[in-house]
Symmetry: C2
DNA sequence: CAGTGGTCTAGACCACACT
DNA sequence: GTGTGGTCTAGACCACTGC
């Protein structure tokens, strides 16, 4: 890696193999540095909430200029993998921070903000070990029949049930997860996943639909059967686009709405 | 602006007034450059799809280094106001591009991508001049009673109606808009707004709910009355966060879904 | 005060597109 | 080849944090 920083940067990928290649697959130095930092992040060299080494230190370690490290970190910060704090350092992002808690929850009260509403009350309906169905296996990149933890819970705001959620988690990574743990933890569930299982959710994709409540759902959410509910199907990923959670939420949207910003 | 580039950058905002200020409101040079470019964009100095001057030219114009201009443009590109193309130049973003057409439409077919589906068929149900209701006035920063253009239309994919939309547009900016124009235009509606009215939508906010179809809605979308529909309420903004459109869409989500990425 | 991230500059060179 | 954006470096200085 960059033995001769001042000269043409050697392309690690291209140099690795295939001297005769149609597309040289050029990747700039800062991208290679970014990958290296990413690997350290993934390997747990620095834990969530901790500071990573200073830009100068990283520049020395990788034998590149500070500017190149800076650009690599800039991209990591843009992807919310890392948080910069002027005068203090750069920190591994975590779902435990007081600031942007519940980053992935886009349901907002129609009036006011979520802070004014107070924390949600959580009730675990069930938490059991099952075998992955074909659908769950596909979403989590498992084989059908592989062990999976399934959780069903109801979240309430101000005493009113608002969300009915089913979670499916790979059994291997979430050994020992139980209802007490799910119910006892204060704060974001993803923060618990970080602390208890070392699983950091980094990004997610959601598919949103309008559906009619069935009998069971309407009972749990205290709405009329057949009434409209927002179905939010989420796949959450760790590093390297590895899926680690499938979640299907049913949201009441009579007093709340799903907020999205487009640009 | 940066009469002495090599010395401490004079803060235009801070220098303008209030020599004794608790917070000096420091803003870096590149931010000031960004504002200047933004003003030119807004004033229409360069039209959508056109190239803006090269980084070197802008650096010379503003008497700063190329790197400072670069950082300003980087941010504009990140906000999708401008598109960089290596070897060619930097171009004013437009909704007319073949690439990311329908940037703000997040409805996707459950199987395949939107390109495979072909363009939507549009039917204008009505297009009339009305007076702003309290709700419309609030969303568009108008006064109740101000002139507004209201459009109702149905979009169909593969012959099946999928979206029922109502649009409200400020009457002043959209003088002369009529049903023929709405129906005749090929491609994104926002592209027509750029060409015909010089209005460029830059970002938008959406509030999403699940609702039950009423009699009229179910007839237009060919679903059962009371069936679930996705309600998407959008406010679209031009430069400087000026709202220029209120839109309420009702989406059928039996064969499509609203796709969102979280990070 | 020292250490961290943040800004600004200047110059060299690379990759890409057009002509 | 020329011009564009893109990368990389090196050094100076600024702003913020905490000792």
């Amino acid at each position: 890696m960059a033995q001769t920083p001042a000269s043409t940067p050697e392309n690690a990928l291209a140099a690795a193999d295939a001297p005769v290649s149609a597309t040289p697959a050029f990747s700039p130095l800062y991208q290679q540095i970014k990958v290296l930092i990413l690997q350290s992040l993934q390997a747990g060299e620095w834990k969530p909430g901790e500071a990573i080494p200073s830009e100068m230190d990283l520049a020395a370690r990788f034998r590149v200029s500070q500017g190149t490290v800076r650009k690599a970190i800039d991209e990591l910060a843009a992807e919310n993998l890392v948080v910069r704090r002027q005068g203090k350092g750069t920190f591994v992002a975590t779902h435990s921070e007081q600031q942007v808690q519940y980053r992935f929850l886009k349901l907002m009260p129609d009036a006011g903000d979520r802070a004014s509403e107070g924390p949600a009350h959580r009730e675990i309906v069930e938490c059991k070990r099952v075998r992955a169905s074909a659908e769950v296996a596909r979403a989590l990149a498992l084989r059908p029949g592989d062990p999976v933890v399934q959780v069903r819970r109801v979240l309430s705001f101000g005493g009113m049930p608002a969300i009915l959620e089913d979670l499916w988690l790979p059994g291997n990574a979430f050994k020992g997860l139980n209802a007490e743990q799910m119910a006892g933890w204060q704060g974001p569930t993803y923060a618990m996943f970080e602390v208890e299982f070392g699983v950091r959710m980094v990004r997610a994709e959601e598919k949103i639909r309008a559906v009619a409540a069935d009998a069971q759902q309407s009972a749990l959410l205290q709405v009329e059967p057949g009434g409209p509910l927002l179905s939010v199907e989420r796949v959450a990923y760790t590093y390297n686009d590895v899926p680690m959670e499938l979640r299907r939420g049913l949201y009441r949207t009579d007093t709340h709405h799903y907020r999205n910003e487009l640009s």
